[in-house]
Amino acid sequence: MILKAEGISRSFFRNGKGTNVFTAVKGTDFTLEAGKITAIIGRSGSGKSTFSNMLAGLLEPSEGRVLLDGEDIYALDDGTRSKLRNEHIGVVPQGQTGLQSLTVLENVLAPAYMYSRTSKADRAHELLKKVDIDELCDVYSNELSGGELRRMAIARALINSPSIIIADEPTGDLDDETTQLVLKLFRGLADSGASVLMVTHEHDALKFADFVYKMDKGVLTECASQAITQPEVTTEL
């Protein structure tokens, strides 16, 4: 599936002195390639999360369109767009996103049970093993650490085998070893045909990316991935 943005922008209203309209993302064209990992880097508040949320169908652009296989997802009614996201777009949101009334396994299975009664318990265990928290499957999510919650959110995003994965800081709370594990998992998904978009601060993540973009004050520009991953050269006096 091809996810495409055509001239999308998003403005917010802010309370305060002076102008109260703030444009987080300025008119942007973008295509998320199938079978590739695309990374977006940028400073905090640069508009990365706003941009990825617009692509995921979670935040309507002020202007422009988001097309999934040529269909404007924001032209769809809420029910259809939600089902489309459930089936085809796996989203790993920023922050801690466990449903506290559910166990780890129930959290992972939740997207699968929203529209279907087919058991995906085997796949859930398989994903939990891949992110190395299968032994925690019966634990309630409020008993997990930040890193474990992140891994649970990744497994949950993948339960319906989506063809598009949009992950906002997926390795934010993870140690180096687990970061590598998750990045390899994303690489494997991309290699098997999925489109992966990662919003990240991690330089390690960029090594796994096929395309790297930088968001700066709401403007998205493509960078040469090699240039980003090279350590900065310092001159010793």
Binding site: L58, T97, M114
Partner: protein, 402 residues
């Protein structure tokens, strides 16, 4: 089981204190609705029964009745006493201009001795002319009240042989009367011939001054008057009071309106209190749900991220509220029933007004209504909060939390 329903159950199970707090609020709501409505309906029932029984325009009692109770005590509470007006005075009353017809009543109190089953008020009536008790008796007994027959109020106890003993004689109980919610429920009714016989028996059995100088065959304790068309009730009552000095005549309608006014005030106060308590509980519910929804913004955003449509989030919130509200409403009804039914006698005594509990069917309907209204109030207030949250953009909710 749908995903939304299953998630609601898990939310309740995992957040028992949150669910209990919501249920407690709804319990309070149901309690106030049921207890308030029950009291108001009981008072209205009492007044209706009272109105139905009061067919007379004027009530006349002897001056010697003073100290035994007022006219409304006689009509409303069945408080009678051993006071009598002579047959001559009754004839004078009948002769007053404007008096169309009269009906006499004879009061007697049974003795607290072996000659009597229990100490009760006995009221003798003339079934052919009676305007106050007969409409009520007709609801339970369609036959003729024969000599030696008695009718007992709903609260009078009865033995297996269905007879009561007064002054050494057994009397057959022909019927038990419908409950009125007044002291009349504790009295016994019979015809004039029977009560005069009882009075004679009492006079010979007991050493009492009650019948000193009284001709039991012609005397009466109260006279109920129907005024002829074209005459002012108050003027006829005044005429009686002026011309017959040993009696006191009171227009009955003024008593009804006095009681009705009193009852309207009490009903109004109770109704207003219930409305205030109810409104307050609904506002508290709305505030609590709004706070809970805010606290659950992140949870809803995560569900949206997974692909839940707004409708599903709305269902989760509504299922959860409906389940907790149902538990709260049923508990509220149980508490209200446990408090209101046992305390109704105390309430009746403290209000001093006719108080007649509604019948079983009405109570059941009232209970079901209180549960449904509370349930709807809970779900409606939750829906408002859920609607507000589910219509927020998920991206913004995630942004707020980030």
């Amino acid at each position: 089981m749908s995903f939304a329903f299953e998630l609601s159950l898990k939310n309740i199970k995992r957040r028992p204190f949150r669910a209990a707090a919501m249920a407690a609020l709804v319990m309070f709501l149901t309690f106030s609705i049921f207890a308030g409505a029950f009291t108001v309906i009981s008072l209205q029932n009492g007044l209706e029964g009272y109105r139905a029984r009061l067919g007379a325009d004027i009530v006349v009692i002897p001056n010697s009745a003073k100290g035994h109770g007022s006219v409304d005590d006689i009509l409303l509470q069945g408080i009678t006493g051993a006071y009598y007006m002579s047959g001559k005075d009754i004839e004078k009353i009948c002769a007053v201009e404007g008096v169309e017809s009269v009906s006499k009543q004879f009061f007697l109190t049974s003795a607290k001795a072996s000659c009597c089953s229990s100490r009760v008020q006995i009221i003798g009536i003339d079934p052919k002319t009676d305007l106050t008790v007969m409409p009520w008796i007709a609801e339970s007994f369609s036959g003729e009240i024969g000599d030696g027959d008695v009718m007992i109020g709903a609260d009078v106890s009865l033995n297996e042989s269905k007879t009561v003993k007064f002054y050494g004689e057994d009397y057959r109980v022909a019927a038990r009367l419908e409950k009125t919610g007044t002291g009349l429920d504790s009295a016994v009714y019979t015809n004039m011939a029977t009560i005069r016989k009882m009075a004679k028996d009492a006079s010979s059995l007991l050493e009492t001054d009650a019948f000193k100088g009284v001709d039991i065959n012609t005397a009466a304790s109260a006279v109920f008057i129907k005024v002829a068309d074209g005459y002012e009730i108050s003027e006829v009552a005044d005429d009686i009071n002026i011309h017959i000095t040993k009696v006191e005549a009171t227009p009955a309608r003024s008593m009804v309106s006095d009681i009705s006014d009193g009852l309207s005030k009490v009903s109004g106060i109770i109704g207003a209190l219930v409305a205030v308590v109810w409104a307050l509980a609904v506002v508290i519910l709305a505030v609590v749900f709004a706070l809970l929804s805010n606290e659950r913004k992140k949870e809803f955003a995560v569900l949206r991220v997974m692909g839940a449509p707004r409708k599903m989030l709305f269902s989760v919130m509504c299922f959860e509220t409906a389940l907790t509200s149902l538990v709260g409403a049923v508990a509220g009804l149980a508490v209200a029933a446990a408090v209101v039914f046992p305390l109704s006698d105390t309430l009746k005594a403290s209000l001093g007004l006719p108080f007649l509990m509604p019948r079983g069917g009405t109570v059941a309907l009232l209970g079901a209504g209180a549960v449904i209204i509370s349930l709807l109030a809970g779900v409606a207030t939750a829906s408002l909060s859920a609607g507000r949250i589910t219509h927020s953009e998920t991206g913004l909710l995630l942004r707020e939390d980030a």
